[in-house]
């Protein structure tokens, strides 16, 4: 028996647009099933393309770095020699440069970002806080090559005069390993400062979001118990947000690790391992950018690609560590994360 339901679509006349369309498309539009299938196909392909892209990049990196790894072995990672003219390649100086500059950048940007976020959310009047947030967003929009230029012309001379002051200081600061060496201006400190400036907007805006997520009920509970503003922030609001602030730090670190242009412009580009903040250095990202165009041999290119692979592995490890840390924190804090 024919179900009356089949006739129902014909009982309401199709709209004018549908009447103009050819029969096939009309049926297709009115049932919607074809559209659904097409939609699923398109979105599915998009998702697959994203995953595929990642795979392609990884494959390229692994394939590209194979010659260098075959030639030098995995000890490549821990060798401090980098001498392309004599076909000697080692990643350690660059790893050190990346780690040291990132450390300096994070040591400055993390406290600065978190404290600024606290000021914006908990202390400053709303209008002023909005103005500052806007300024910080604009800071994030500055292309890093421009920051690099500013670094060369403004920051490096500033750092240099600071270094000279330390050098001449009668207190003998220059005998300390981290302040030793010639006051050149370019080097780890200048690069670290630039990285701090670049990481700051990320850390600040994420921390700000995190602090805004603290329920009003928590704030009120603290104040109703007779907490001063400082106590409420230090004992309740920050501990509540600490997981998210950890995430903010990681985001900043991820930004800092791979940053190339600005760092290359102010770090001095000398592959060496020195504890001094004033010494020149080199990072994984900047050596790739600097030497790729003039690599003397295929092996040199392969070595550069393997430096990139190290950077990739580093970020993946960082991500994994972050996830593990979050799982640990979640377990320790009980059901806090659950709504």
């Amino acid at each position: 028996m024919d179900a009356p339901a089949i006739e129902t679509p014909e009982m309401t006349p199709p709209s004018l647009v549908l009447q103009i369309l050819p029969e096939g498309i009309r049926r297709w539009r009115s049932t919607g099933r074809g559209a659904d299938r097409l939609f699923r196909l398109v979105t599915g392909m998009c998702a697959a393309a994203v995953a595929g892209l990642l795979l392609i990049v990884i494959l390229f990196m692994v394939k590209g770095s194979l010659p260098a790894i075959r030639d030098h072995g995995l000890g490549f990672v821990l060798s401090p020699d980098w001498d392309p003219t004599n076909q000697k390649y080692g990643a350690l100086t660059f790893l050190f440069g990346t780690a040291y500059t990132s450390l300096i950048g994070m040591a400055i940007a993390l406290p600065l970002g978190v404290l600024t976020a606290v000021a914006l959310v908990e202390i400053l009047p709303r209008g002023l806080a909005k103005a500052i947030s806007l300024a910080v967003e604009l800071l994030a929009a500055i292309p890093s090559v421009l920051l690099g230029l500013w670094g060369i012309f403004e920051l490096v001379p500033l750092v240099r005069s600071f270094e000279i002051a330390i050098y001449r200081s009668p207190l003998g600061f220059r005998k300390l390993p981290i302040f030793s060496g010639a006051p050149l201006g370019v080097g780890f400190l200048a690069a670290g400062l630039l990285l701090a400036i670049m990481a700051l907007p990320f850390i600040l805006s994420v921390s700000r979001e995190v602090l805004l997520q603290v329920p009003t009920a928590q704030r009120e509970a603290a104040y109703a118990l007779g907490a001063t503003r400082w106590q409420a922030i230090r004992k309740f609001i920050l501990p509540y947000s600490w997981k998210g602030i950890f995430g903010a730090g990681l985001l900043g670190l991820a930004r800092v690790l791979g940053e190339t242009m600005a760092v290359t412009m102010v770090i001095g580009n000398t592959p060496q391992i020195k504890a001094s903040l004033f010494a020149s250095g080199y990072t994984l990202a900047s050596v790739i950018a600097n030497e790729f165009t003039e690599a003397p041999s295929d092996l040199a290119i392969s070595a550069l690609i393997s430096l990139g692979l190290i950077l990739l592995v580093l970020t993946v490890l960082l991500n994994a560590a972050a996830r593990l840390m979050l799982i640990y924190l979640n377990r320790r804090m009980g059901t806090q994360g659950a709504k």
Binding site: A217, A221, L225, G226, Q231, M333
Partner: protein, 249 residues
Amino acid sequence: MLACQNLKIEFDRKSVIKDVSLEFPPQRITAIIGPSGCGKSTLLRAFNRMHDLTPGARVSGLVTLSGKDIYHKDEDPVLVRRRIGMVFQKANPFPTLSIFNNTIAGLRLSGLRNRALLKEAAEKALVDAALWDEVKDRLKSNPMSLSGGQQQRLCIARALAVDPEVLLMDEPCSALDPIATAKIEELMFRLRERLSVVIVTHNMQQAARASDRTAFLWMGELIEEGETEAIFTTPKKSMTEDYITGRFG
């Protein structure tokens, strides 16, 4: 005694409480009732200066505790809040602290460090809040593992630990089941012996069974107040009668 005279509260120039004068005698439970949006919670929050935290809020008139103006410019809101405790609509224990540390959070804030004293105070507050037997074996646990009613009693214990003179309760049972509600009401009667309790509730049965005095608020104005029995049996204003018999609100 907590009291207010000609109290007015505005948010961004919009008047929410208009000229309310009330007294909250010690050792009494006073219920503030009224339809949603009448300003009950706003009124309550003025009594421990919570509006100080809201930009755009303005409180005028007089709020006194033992005759002293708590809004006087020399009064520190932090100290005011230590004398006038508050329990909120939704239980809000600190998820980052253990049950024990939640209980003594207020004492820690006021600088008490002595471990033995803190322990003693925690036990006393938890006993007072009728929670001790349920949590004494897991004082180090996370408070979020407690039931809703237990969490709310933990919040009451937390407020009691600093030994306040007044306890403000903002619809403390609205998220609780009847059994948990009954426990909290029973608790209020015991607390009455040592402090004055002000409870905001939209539940008229609760006001009728668990308070000594009742104040009826409507559109930011105090319509009537008096002994609970009188308000519920022989109200003077027809509006009060209409509200308690469910004709509006």
